[in-house]
């Protein structure tokens, strides 16, 4: 496996995985994944359906904990600490590493309550402070202008794209360092997709983004690093330009040139 070690010199590693193996029951879903996620960059994970990219991204904030029969080996270092150590507080990890899901999943509450959900959970009770957080998060997720007048209305009345940006705002409201996105645009139309892509490019100024995508063009457009996965293995990982233009593995080349998928 090729690791573009050169890139690490002038960048800061936020997440580093070491020999991750994961099983669902008896199915071996991830095999020996070792990779690094760089701060303030967008890292894309691509690969055909079922290759394990969504599973891998859920490893980063321990969302696989809630799946019965899921067993994981190996280490994931976040800011130097292994998040799978027994003494780690998974709540703190998920606060610092946010997640956006494939299908927008707003709570059946008002727009405001959706964004305020995280801060309230983390004991922000002052009204003024909450309002400030909500406003800031909605602005960051480029939704503020569209929902300014309907903060009290149900989030389920928003369009799909708006709902997804609301979910991003909800994630941003707890001030994470890393945002994981699991095919965030797969349920959206091209215009909504373009908005989210713009948003991602903006977000990386303040955050580190890891995105799983089905769409190779999307990976090429917005990411700085790309990992190509196949059958639970990380086949190739490096700078996006390099992975797309001069892939080192034949499998990668075949995939990005559309010979299988």
């Amino acid at each position: 496996m090729d690791m573009n070690m050169g890139a690490n010199m002038n960048n800061q590693t936020v997440i580093r995985t070491q020999d991750i193996n994961l099983w669902y029951g008896t199915t071996h879903a991830l095999t020996d994944i070792t990779m690094e996620i760089q701060k303030n960059k967008v890292t894309a994970l691509i690969g055909p359906s079922g290759c394990g990219k969504s599973t891998l991204i859920r490893v980063f904030d321990r969302m696989n904990d809630i799946i019965n029969g899921c067993r994981i080996e190996g280490k994931v270092f976040f800011n130097g600490k292994n998040i799978y150590d027994p003494d780690i507080d998974v709540i703190e990890i998920r606060k610092k590493i946010g997640m956006i899901f494939q299908k927008p999943n707003p709570f059946p509450m008002s727009v405001y309550d959706n964004v305020a959900y995280g801060p309230r959970i983390h004991n922000v009770t002052k009204r003024a402070h909450l309002e400030e957080i909500v406003k800031k998060s909605l602005k960051l997720s480029a939704l503020w202008n569209e929902v300014e007048d309907r903060l009290g209305q149900s989030a389920l009345g928003l369009s799909g794209g708006q709902q997804q940006r609301l979910c991003i705002a909800r994630a941003l409201a707890v001030e994470p360092e890393v945002i994981l996105m699991d095919e965030p645009t797969s349920a959206l139309d091209p215009i909504a997709t373009a908005k989210i892509e713009d948003l991602i490019t903006d977000l990386k100024k303040q955050y580190t983004v890891v995105i799983v995508t089905h769409n190779m063009q999307q990976a090429a457009r917005i990411s700085d690093y790309t990992g190509f996965m196949y059958l639970g293995k990380l086949i190739e990982f490096g700078k996006t330009v390099q992975v797309f233009e001069r892939p080192e593995q034949e499998l990668t080349e075949n995939y990005i040139t559309g010979r299988f998928g």
Binding site: R94, M99, K103, P108, I121, L156
Partner: protein, 641 residues
């Protein structure tokens, strides 16, 4: 550190929920054990085989004989009859409400169905005895109307609301996408219902039928009041006008009179065990079907260690429907007076054509019209049934109602005076039952859905609770009598009644809570966990609010059930001569359902006060329902999907 504080709080909550689940489970297994303990001497003395195959049930004869075969057959026949009538009506009405009725009418129709389930079984029995059996006797020119048919009709009506509401929930929750996908390829609405909606909702509909069967098998009061209770086999076996006696009826009639500790006493417990096992078999096989169906619709699940291979299951299904058709044909043949083989052949040919049309669907449009007519018709029949029952109870009950009737104790064995002690007694009983059952029930439901690891133990717990859920209320009555009244020496008392009723509704509360909580989409939990909420924060803020209406519905149904039940309290809490309010929980009480039962069956010339009591009982139960429905409505408005 914040994390550790979180963790200890989380752990305490998890422990509390685990404790609730444990209490629920212990109660379940304790009841089962206790029943077997008291039944054991009978099995030892008489022998299981002799009890099951003996043709004569005569416990007071010399020597006594404990042959339960006619009782078992009676139970099966009454239940089959009830299902033959309520399954088509119930599923038809459910499809009508969710798919065909104009959306303006839906809430009204659902409300009326709930009304039907709010009518206590003793009121059904009362109606059956004073109105229906008379009607049957005159219409069909029989010596008596107290018969298998009367029992089946009454049980069918009683099972309807369960079947309708549970199937309706299942059908309504089929995603619109499925329907649109089907309509988009040019399917008619009926084809969509038949091929997409009903199959998707099949597990729910099956559950509805199981619950309906459970209700029918376990019903005591109504059956006891209208079936004539002769422990004989119908002659011939298809003679629906024959009187019949069920297991529950036997328990209801004889338990009150039996000498404690006698061989008759143990024989009755043996009957209760047999009843329990029948319910267990029905439930387990039905649960098996349910699991198969779940697998069919969630084919991603790897483990398909089914107990019936799929091909065999399909064969069995065909055989089952085939058997039903044959039985109907045979029955029609016997009844119709058609005797020549030519006529029989014609009838057979007619049915064959009908079946072939059903199987091959050559006329989709006409088929749609016909089925929609049948479906709407079933809904209309249900409404008429409700209307007739309410008309009788209300129109004849109102003249009995007066201020004195509501506020005075009874006089002259209930022929005069009022029913005040019974009203208060009923309120005490249900209040106490809910205090006992709701906290552990809801806690256990949440625990099972959110915390319990899916595994053998969880499955065993769920199966135990499910089986207790289908367990006839009279069995709880027996348990309460043997354990609370006799063993713990509470005597016939308010407390014993509260506990018996509480234990009876506990499994319902556990399972409805679990189902409601489980139905909250996983994506919402993930969204909450992903912003760093703890498990309990997620449950409290994201999972419980949308599940609350479902949980409350479960509790409402339980309250209604507890208020109207007679069988669990007639040996544990109520004394007919109780003219005053209880001074302590250890005093006996009077309760509305039991008062009505005694007036109807044992006190001649008390019909006016019986109608009055029925009306008051009905109103009390419906007020509870109305209050709870309002709470649910408010929840629905604040939590809008």
């Amino acid at each position: 550190m914040r994390g550790s504080r979180h963790k200890s709080a989380e752990r305490i909550i998890e422990k509390l929920l685990l404790a609730s689940a444990t209490i629920a489970v212990i109660i379940v297994f304790f009841i089962i054990l206790y029943l077997f303990r008291d039944a054991y001497p009978a099995f030892k003395e008489v022998g299981l085989v002799k009890i099951l195959t003996g043709m004569k049930w005569n416990p007071v004869g010399e020597p006594p004989s404990y042959g339960a075969y006619p009782l078992v057959v009676g139970t099966v026949l009454v239940t089959l009859g009830a299902m033959a009538f309520s399954i088509p009506l119930g599923i038809g009405s459910a499809i009508f409400i969710s798919e065909i009725a104009p959306s303006r009418l839906k809430p009204g129709f659902k409300f009326l169905t709930e009304l039907l389930s709010g009518i206590p079984s003793v009121v059904y029995g009362f109606f059956g005895l004073v109105v229906m059996t008379t009607w049957l006797r005159i219409t069909f020119n029989q010596p008596t109307g107290e018969s298998w048919l009367a029992g089946s009709i009454l049980l069918g009506i009683m099972a309807l609301p369960t079947i309708i509401s549970v199937s309706e929930d299942a059908i309504s929750s089929v995603p619109t996408d499925y329907k649109e996908a089907s309509l988009a390829v040019g399917a008619t609405k009926w084809q969509t219902i038949r091929n997409v909606v009903v199959p998707s909702a099949l597990s729910g509909i099956t559950a509805a039928i199981i619950l309906g069967i459970g209700r029918a098998i376990g019903e005591t009061m109504a059956v006891m009041m209208v079936t004539g209770n002769a422990a004989v086999l119908p002659e011939p076996i298809t003679n629906v006008f024959s009187p019949i006696r069920t297991i529950t009826g036997t328990l209801g009639i004889e338990m009150g009179e039996v000498a404690v500790g006698s061989s008759h006493y143990h024989a009755l417990f043996a009957l209760a065990v047999i009843l329990f096992v029948i319910v267990l078999l029905v439930n387990s096989s039905a649960l098996g079907v349910l699991m198969k169906l779940n697998e069919k619709f969630n084919p991603t699940e790897k483990k398909s260690r089914g107990w019936i291979p799929r091909a065999a299951a399909s064969l069995l299904r065909r055989a089952f429907w085939g058997a039903i058709v044959v039985v109907i044909l045979y029955f029609a043949y016997c009844r119709s007076g058609v005797r020549g083989s030519l006529e029989a052949g014609l009838v057979l040919a007619f049915f064959s054509v009908f079946v072939i049309i059903l199987a091959h669907h050559p006329f989709p449009r006409h088929e749609q019209t016909a089925f929609f007519a049948a479906i709407s018709g079933s809904a209309v029949v249900v409404l008429i049934l409700l209307g007739v029952i309410l008309y009788y109870i209300v129109s004849k009950g109102i003249p009995a109602i007066s201020w004195e009737f509501l506020t005075q104790p009874p006089r002259d064995l209930g022929r005069g005076g009022g029913i005040f002690p019974a009203i208060v007694g009923t309120l005490y009983l249900i209040g106490g039952a809910m205090l006992i059952a709701v906290p552990p029930g809801v806690g256990a439901g949440i625990y099972l859905s959110e915390y319990a690891r899916e595994g053998k133990i969880t499955r065993l717990i769920r199966a135990g609770i499910d089986n207790l859920n289908g367990t006839p209320s009279i069995v709880f009555g027996l348990f309460g009598f043997a354990f609370l009244v006799l063993y713990l020496n509470f005597g016939i008392s308010l407390l014993a009644g509260m506990i018996t009723l509480g234990v009876m509704v506990l499994p319902t509360i556990v399972r409805t809570t679990e189902e409601a909580v489980k139905s909250v989409p996983q994506s919402l939990r993930e969204a909450s966990l992903a912003v760093g909420a703890t498990k309990w924060q997620t449950i409290r803020n994201v999972v419980v609010p949308p599940a609350a209406p479902g949980v409350i519905t479960g509790i409402i149904l339980s309250v209604g059930r507890a208020a109207g039940e007679t069988a669990p309290i007639m040996f544990t809490a109520t004394v007919f001569s109780q003219r005053f309010l209880p001074h302590s929980p250890l005093d006996p009480v009077m309760a509305l359902p039991y008062h009505l039962f005694v007036l109807t069956t044992s006190i001649p010339n008390s019909i006016q006060n019986a109608y009055g009591t029925a009306l008051v009982l009905l109103v009390v139960v419906l007020l509870i329902y109305a209050a709870a429905a309002m709470i649910r409505f408010r929840y629905r408005r604040t939590v809008r999907w």
